[in-house]
Amino acid sequence: MEIILSFINDNIEMIYVIILSIILGIQVIESVPAVLHTPLMSGANAIHGVVIIGAIIIMGKADPSNTLALVLGFIAVVLGTLNVVGGFVVTDRMLEMFKKKSPKK
């Protein structure tokens, strides 16, 4: 019990961030019309590409003599970038189509 309480106490800021972010995520999605589900899923998909930050950190920290870390890190950076760039571009293409209609109306 003591351990759990002290753990919560030590990480209280982190716990705030987590809980508030979860609520935010739920709030954001709940009001979305079905029409926008696909673009939204794709947009969310691009946002989790933020893992690339982790890839950049391991890449940047890697000892230049540690080939394995360099190679794995490089692949991770490439894959992360693919996720981010591909995700945002695809989402933009989808949303572009919705936009074109409004001036015509």
Binding site: V17, A46, S102
Partner: protein
Amino acid sequence: MGTYTLEICYLIASICYIVGLKMMAGPKTARNGNLLAAGGMTLAIFATIFLYQYEIDNESKSLGNYYWVFGGIIVGTIAGWLAAKKVQMTAMPQMVSLFNGMGGACAALIALVEFPDALEHMHEHWNVLFMSTILCGLVIGSTSFSGSMIAYLKLNGNLKKDIRLPFYNIINTILIVGIIGLTICLAGGHIPDVNEFTFWAWILLAGATIYGIMFVLPIGGADMPVVISLLNSFTGMAAMFGGFLYNNMAMLTGGILVGSAGTILTVVMCRAMNRSLSNVIFGAFGTGGSAKAATSSGEQKSYKETNSSDLAVLLNYSSKVIIVPGYGLAVAQAQHVVNEMEQILNDRGVEVKYAIHPVAGRMPGHMNVLLAESNVEYEKLVEMDDINPEFSTCDVVIVLGANDVVNPAAKEDPSSPIYGMPILNVEDAKTTIVNKRSMNVGYAGIDNDLFYRDKTNMLFGDAKKVLTEIVGELKNL
């Protein structure tokens, strides 16, 4: 100084994601929302490259290996950009799945590089929390990767069958229990020997990868989008564990946001199909139904056939027409011809509307994207609940390559696997025209009673070809 600026950059980036995602929830602001989120991401990435500091031997250092980092970013950007620009709108679901898998793999690779370092540092003092974070990233990331790849192959048509090993539910349960057990065992520091630990960590990676494959393989039919959405939230969680690992706020907020938003989106999709999430994962869609379809095909039922010139005349003298577009329309690339037909009918005073089922196409909202691409007006796309009462007042319904979403079995036959799924009540219309390439079953693999009804006329052929003929006939009338 640099570290302070970095934290502020992360704060701005997090706000960008949240506001961007919120803006994406409305049709008018959606595009700017996406750009805002992308801007936040760019800021976070470059701030990390130039401002991130780490401690080594009580000395803080900036990141190095710039050639490698930028090389990777350039390769990824070019490849991602080209892939995203070239992909057909119909192939969008598998593309999202593919990008999702990339993110998962990235998270798994991070964990893979980090754990030997962590092991070294933990000789004296074992940090359970830190190790669990790494291992969770490894497990969730690799599951998400392999699952997304299978989903990609399935949607792309490379993997057509839903493969079900005997007792796959039991095998999957054993796998997941094993993975969780091994994770707890490793994170708890019960295997202190470095070599042994590494060996088991690789086993864990293999197990999680296999689980991803086993998890998606048996799922098929209309449930695929739900799986993609679920895997999407998995990758979000993997990113979140990365955020814990580096105490990185941008990763943390981004990851959690996607994790929770993805989970809710999954639930919303399930609700649209009137299925529970556990049903999707453990239920193996269509097992009962396909057996039933096989038995019922024994008795030959009769259906009526029509042709495009008759249909053109019929349409010309109708006052209200509702079009029900399905995936077949998208595959045939017939969106533009539909729009052309709609214009002609409109000019002749025929009211034309589109009835959009929530899961028409391969993902919720997929059909709207496809029709929007061919300049169909946003206002003409009517959602299911609004259009259903209108079917009884319309003269002709044209079902273009849709099947399961108009199957009356969902309302009438409790033994049908899709029973309870809300459908479009096309059978209420005076005449229903169903365009299909053949009498084959739809994506869910079940027979459709609608085709044999008195008011239904079948029009066989590729949607684009048939529609082009109709447009030609209409012009001559």
